[in-house]
């Protein structure tokens, strides 16, 4: 078995999601090579070389890879990937953008969002917003899959000593161009990696109230902040905070849902959390069916009281 893992990074640092993908690769078993495609990304390759379990790092350094444009990166992955039995990437927006394109270039089917490795070619993945779990067997010569990070414990970022090897760029495909980026800055832990997540829904009422009520709780707990689709659509918070089938998938130790009813769409993104707390004024809210503890009350009084008592 030879596995190619596509590194997720911002040209400066390796993203933690890659460590979960390496963990999934170890479950498959075999030689693990990490591909770093970027621009001025030597530091990322050096970090990847230290990751436990990695035997080789390939660095493709070219301006064409600076912003992870799918048209350019997929071309590279397909040209390198044919020699491997598996090609894996994280189920992030980058992984989901690039990998299906690479799979099609290799003329193989792909498996999205694997949550368990049952065998070298057999995997489990959620379908229907997590309401069913499918076991899928690939009959392809190259297994291409994205990995749901929260389903695999990250490997250690230190301890490895892989060699870094440069690989030639496949160039710019010339059909797409990066224009601009708007990244939301936050001092809080990253949503998908946080141990505690505090999320707000439509019930928080407004963007202002979201911050007035939930910021102190998140601060006190050192938690990341999330939101339901309703809160994002209402403009309370930016879209990158959305938890759900169509947003981010989280599985923290503690998930506190405040003013969230618990639509199927939202539950798909958080029901693997270890402990779920729901604070809602509606006794019948569907969120209560997945919550370990739920408290019926006005979030505007309950949450500040909670902050004062933790």
């Amino acid at each position: 078995m030879s596995i190619l893992v596509i590194a997720e990074h911002d040209n400066k640092a390796l993203n933690g999601a890659t460590l979960n993908v390496v963990a999934a690769a170890q479950k498959i078993g075999g030689d693990i090579t990490v591909l770093v495609a970027g621009s001025g990304a030597q530091a990322v390759a050096d970090q990847a070389a230290k990751v436990a379990g990695v035997s080789k790092v390939l660095l493709a350094d070219d301006a064409a890879y600076a912003n992870q444009l799918a048209e350019n990166v997929a071309k590279l992955v397909a040209s390198i990937g044919a020699g491997y039995t598996h090609i894996l990437a994280a189920s992030t927006t980058t992984g989901k953008n690039v990998l299906p394109r690479a799979a099609a270039l290799l003329d193989v089917s792909m498996i999205t969002d694997i949550i368990a490795v049952e065998g070298p070619k057999t995997f489990k993945r959620p379908i229907y917003a997590g309401n069913a779990i499918a076991t899928v067997e690939s009959g392809e010569s190259v297994v291409v899959a994205t990995v749901r990070g929260t389903a695999f414990d990250a490997v250690a970022s230190e301890g490895g000593s892989a060699a870094v090897e440069a690989v030639a760029s496949t160039g710019d495909a010339g059909i797409s161009k990066f224009v601009s980026e708007e990244i939301v800055k936050s001092e809080r832990p990253e949503l998908t990696a946080a141990r505690i997540v505090v999320s707000g829904g439509r019930g928080v009422g407004s963007g202002e109230n979201y911050h007035t009520v939930l910021d102190p709780l998140a601060d006190k707990l050192g938690a990341a902040q999330g939101a339901s689709r309703a809160a994002v659509d209402a403009g309370f918070v930016p879209n990158d905070m959305q938890v759900g089938q169509t947003g981010k998938i989280v599985a923290p130790d503690l998930y506190i849902a405040v003013g969230i009813s618990g639509a199927i769409q939202h539950l798909a993104g958080m029901k693997e959390s270890k402990v779920i707390v729901a604070i809602n004024k509606d006794e019948e809210a569907p969120i209560n069916t997945v919550a370990d503890y739920w408290l019926v009350g006005d979030l505007n009084t309950v949450v500040p009281e909670l902050v004062s008592k933790i």
């Binding site: 394109r101 792909m110 499918a134 980026e181 008592k309």
Partner: protein, 250 residues
């Protein structure tokens, strides 16, 4: 310019599906079916581009059972001009096969803009648009929350993990829609009546030289592990106590 929109017939987003007792799949008998929400957003975007004068004709294509005609007709009621149904057994089709059939349709229709939803809410694959981009050698603007056509290029603002990213693609290009791209309109009754008269062609995968046989085999489908029933706490004190002493998470 011509726009092609791909739509999928899926179980309605509000239905809580049940796994069949024999673990062969999800029980879809007598379950409400609808147009996939992301596909509906793709249709709406095409219609808005037509209203702005950017797009002159909208062709809707669906690949699936005969009943998928309903979803094509709904798309026509929203403003699409013409439909193509590629009749095929869904269970034999993977994303790659769907992308290959769509490539055949694109080759025949020569659209400048190809719009799809970012994912279908049944298989949750999020693959077809990207695969089609690869097969056509066209650029892809996935997870789009804003689309601006300018001459022979299109600027697409994409929802990415950290925020937003804008890319510029050479036409023809693929766009896959995210939820915030637009809010689809409701079809008015006169438009539903008119949609019945719009042309709808029926094709088969063989017409595009594709054999619908995915190499991904679904071994079994199971219900997810049930969470054990939780408890209602009566006060903040009780909640804090449970979190500290029972769950030990704070």
């Amino acid at each position: 310019m011509k726009a092609l929109v791909a739509v999928k017939r899926v179980v309605d987003a509000n239905v809580k599906v049940r796994v069949k007792p024999d673990n062969s799949g999800v029980d879809l008998t007598n379950v409400k079916m609808s147009i996939n929400p992301f596909c509906e957003i793709a249709v709406e975007e095409a219609v808005r581009l037509k209203e702005k004068g950017t797009v002159s004709e909208i062709v809707v294509v669906s690949i699936g059972p005969k009943e998928a005609q309903e979803q094509i007709r709904s798309s026509m009621a929203l403003g699409a001009d013409r439909g193509i149904l590629v009749e095929a057994d869904d269970s034999q089709l993977g994303a790659l096969e769907v992308a290959k059939i769509l490539k055949g349709v694109v080759d025949a229709e020569q659209p400048q803009l190809i719009l799809l939803g970012k994912q279908a809410i049944d298989d949750d694959s999020n693959q077809v648009g990207q695969m089609l981009g690869a097969l056509l050698g066209a650029g892809q603007g996935t997870f789009a929350s804003e689309v601006k056509v300018e001459g022979d290029k299109v600027q697409v603002t994409r929802e990415i993990d950290g925020g937003l990213q804008t890319v510029e693609l050479v036409l023809p290009a693929i766009i896959t829609t995210d939820l915030r791209l637009n809010e689809p309109r409701y079809a008015a009754l006169p438009n539903i009546m008119k949609a019945r008269k719009k042309p709808l062609d029926t094709k088969s995968p063989a017409d595009y030289g594709v054999s619908p046989a995915t190499k991904l085999k679904t071994v079994k489908v199971e219900a997810p592990a049930e969470r054990k029933a939780g408890v209602q706490v009566k006060s903040v004190d009780e909640l804090v106590d449970k979190l500290k002493n029972e769950a030990k998470v704070i």
